[in-house]
């Protein structure tokens, strides 16, 4: 008796909803590939990740049933992404505020052209030519 109602309660969505979700996902894939051919500068990353997040949300909400599921599961899923976000954010607080992200000249490590010109001597023997 209870098993019957229980299974009814868990049956969500249905083929029509899933098909629409798939079509939306495929459409967004085309959009994101298309957008990558247009140059928005640094906006490309933002657009690509924004579309990816929409797609991921569609998968989570409909394919993974979060839309109908107990809220606790959604909280767990969001917690995963939230703490990933914390990890990412604080690492970028560090990296973003560093003077120089590139490794300095080191034991035959290639010097990067441009900023410093071609000074090829390795750092330990050439501490004097440190760039500020």
């Amino acid at each position: 008796m209870s098993t019957q109602t229980h299974s009814d309660k868990h049956e969500h969505g249905g083929p029509a909803v899933y098909t629409k979700t798939l079509l939306a996902l495929l459409f967004l894939t085309i959009v994101t590939v298309g957008a990558s051919y247009v140059d928005f500068g640094s906006g490309n990353v933002v657009i690509a990740l924004f579309i990816a997040t929409i797609k991921a949300s569609l998968v989570a909400l409909f394919f993974m049933h979060l839309r109908w599921d107990k809220p606790v599961n959604a909280v767990i899923a969001l917690a995963g992404f939230l703490f990933l976000g914390i990890f990412l954010m604080f690492d970028f607080i560090d990296f973003g505020a560093r003077d120089n992200l590139r490794p300095v000249n080191f034991n035959g490590m290639p010097v990067i052209q441009g900023a410093s010109g071609a000074s090829g001597a390795p750092a330990p023997a050439a501490g004097t030519e440190k760039k500020e």
């Binding site: 606790v72 917690a79 995963g80 703490f83 914390i86 990890f87 604080f90 690492d91 607080i93 560090d94 990296f95 973003g96 505020a97 560093r98 490794p103 080191f106 034991n107 490590m109």
Partner: protein, 550 residues
């Protein structure tokens, strides 16, 4: 014995059941394949105690070789390589094999379902799998000691760890496996707390031990995977030179520290939160008084768990992270003081006007209050930027984290073992020897580590095989303390083990506890309770009318 029965509940015990979880299904095979959370908890207890023994022996050897500047142990010369391996193994074993699984996996496994009035944890087979992963990790870690050697320190800092010889790769894989053991325990406990509470038990009717273990489990689930991937990256860097941590091929060693501490700082709370959780049980039980500020303590556990994720950079103030990151992490670090303080004050508030009896577990609880206070207050020194620059990477840090880890978690763990020992084994231990053991541990611990605060602020760097002559007297004093500490722990272990030779004599509720585990027999039957318990009152309610009703 008489004394221990003074709180014995007014309702007489039912006759002790003939079959309990220990003798229900005898034979080594039935233990090894058991999915009973109590048996798994006991197996974990045996396992982590063995690890504690090995780690403790290394600790004593490290202290012994620091006794004089001659670096000899019983006349045998200790070289710098051997010394480095010893402190690495001491750290790695104590952190990954002992403290992290100690309270959650050993005591938590045994007690948590009982406290919730559940028959088992949510996923019993996953629980067993978690135990065998722990065993696998332990075997790998021990194998890496025997086959080769690891001399990186337990933190595996790159590029030293990517360039040193030895079995570092095997050790990192061991820790990887141990990490998954921890993750599975965490998943199990979160699901158990969410779904298997006894009828009538709302979130704020849960014992505070459950709140602590639940907060711990959240960290285990959300932080440990990052440790896993960090160690995989480290192993790949060693084997394939992928160029992420090793500066010789363009990597960034500071990035490794970010990855490592994103796990390992929360891991500090995986270690201390369960310790606090035990104290939150011991203090109301032995004060015979309602827990003061129950909700505040529960919230402080959860907020500590969450805060633990945003302060990891305080391990890296002088490591080469950007100055902005240093300032941000220092500011956030101070927030940790608030919930820690709230817990401390509420424990004292619970003792106020209580009816305090100083059984062995309560002696450990009071020791915890004093030692953790020192551990917490010295943390303020290290969070303060200008002072930290001088103190970090010195013995001050060593002393600080031993006060928190050993003086906090391990003291609470031993207190917890004494508290639940009658429930686990059905036997009472000698109160007299328990108290003497506690006193020796307290004295020895302080002599060993209080000394090291002075060594550190004087400028003695950590992980030093050799030291200036001016530090010798303090080092010697610390080493003498470690012998007293070792003796205290040895005595405590003997006292507990000796009780196993007696017939079962423990009542169901020797301490007058109010949580559900005391309502079943000692030791419990295999499926925990004869009838599904239904919660009718909040925990720690010591009003006479309620206790009489018990």
């Amino acid at each position: 014995m008489e004394q221990s029965l003074k709180f014995h509940s007014k309702v007489a015990d039912l006759p002790r059941p003939v079959k309990n979880y220990l003798n229900n299904d005898p034979g080594i095979w039935s233990w090894m394949t058991t999915i009973d959370h109590k048996r798994i908890g006991v197996m974990y207890l045996v396992g982590v105690m063995s690890a504690f023994l090995i780690g403790g022996i290394f600790a004593l050897l490290v202290r012994l070789s620091l006794l004089t500047t001659h670096h000899t142990i019983f006349g045998i010369q200790v070289t710098a390589e051997v010394y480095n391996r010893m402190f690495t193994l001491h750290g790695a074993i104590m952190v990954f094999l002992f403290i992290i699984p100690s309270v959650p996996a050993a005591l938590g496994n045994f007690v948590l379902p009982l406290m919730l009035g559940a028959k088992d944890v949510a996923f019993p087979r996953l629980n067993l799998a978690s135990f065998y992963l722990w065993v696998t990790g332990a075997v790998m870690a021990v194998a890496s000691m025997i086959i080769g050697a690891v001399d990186t320190g337990w933190t595996f800092y790159t590029p030293y760890s990517t360039t040193t010889s030895g079995t570092v790769t095997l050790m990192t894989m061991a820790v990887f496996v141990l990490g998954f053991s921890s993750i599975f325990t965490g998943i199990n406990f979160v699901a158990t707390v969410h779904k298997l509470r006894a009828p009538g038990m709302g979130w704020f009717d849960m014992p505070l031990f459950v709140w602590g273990i639940y907060s711990t489990a959240i960290i285990q689930v959300l932080a440990t995977p990052v440790l896993g991937i960090t160690l995989v990256l480290l192993a790949l860097e060693r084997v394939f030179n992928i160029g992420i941590f090793d500066p010789k091929i363009g990597g960034d060693p500071v990035l490794f520290q970010h990855f490592f501490w994103f796990y390992s700082h929360p891991a500090v709370y995986i270690m201390i939160l369960p310790g606090m959780a035990i104290i939150s049980e011991l203090i109301p039980t032995f004060s015979k008084k309602t827990m003061f500020g129950y909700r505040a303590v529960a919230y402080s556990s959860v907020s500590l768990a969450l805060l633990s994720f945003i302060v990891w950079g305080h391990h890296m103030f002088v490591a080469g992270q950007s100055q902005l990151a240093t300032v941000v992490f220092s500011a956030l670090t101070f927030l940790v003081a608030i919930p820690s303080g709230v817990k401390m004050f509420n424990w004292l508030g619970t003792m106020y006007k209580g009816n305090i009896s100083l059984e062995t577990p309560m002696l450990y609880a009071i020791s915890f209050l004093l030692l953790f206070a020192i551990g917490g207050l010295t943390g303020i020194f290290l969070g303060t930027l200008s002072v930290d620059v001088h103190l970090t990477d010195t013995y001050f840090v060593v002393a600080h984290f031993h006060y928190v880890m050993m003086g906090g978690t391990v003291i609470a763990f031993i207190g917890g073992v004494h508290y639940w020992w009658p429930k686990m084994t059905g036997r009472m231990y000698s109160e007299k020897w328990g108290a003497i053991g506690c006193a020796l541990v307290f004295w020895g611990f302080n002599q060993t580590f209080l000394t090291q605060f002075f060594l550190g602020s004087k400028g003695m760097p950590r992980r030093y095989y050799n030291y200036l002559d001016q530090f010798q007297p303090l080092h010697a004093f610390s080493t003498y303390g470690s012998w007293i500490l070792g003796a205290g722990l040895f005595l405590t272990a003997i006292n507990l083990l000796a009780s196993l030779r007696k017939p079962m004599d423990a009542p169901d509720n020797p301490w007058g506890g109010t949580t559900l585990e005391w309502t079943t027999s000692s030791p419990p039957i295999t499926h925990n309770f004869e009838d599904q318990p239904v919660l009718e009152r909040a925990p720690y309610d010591y009003r006479p009318e309620v206790v009489a009703h018990q």
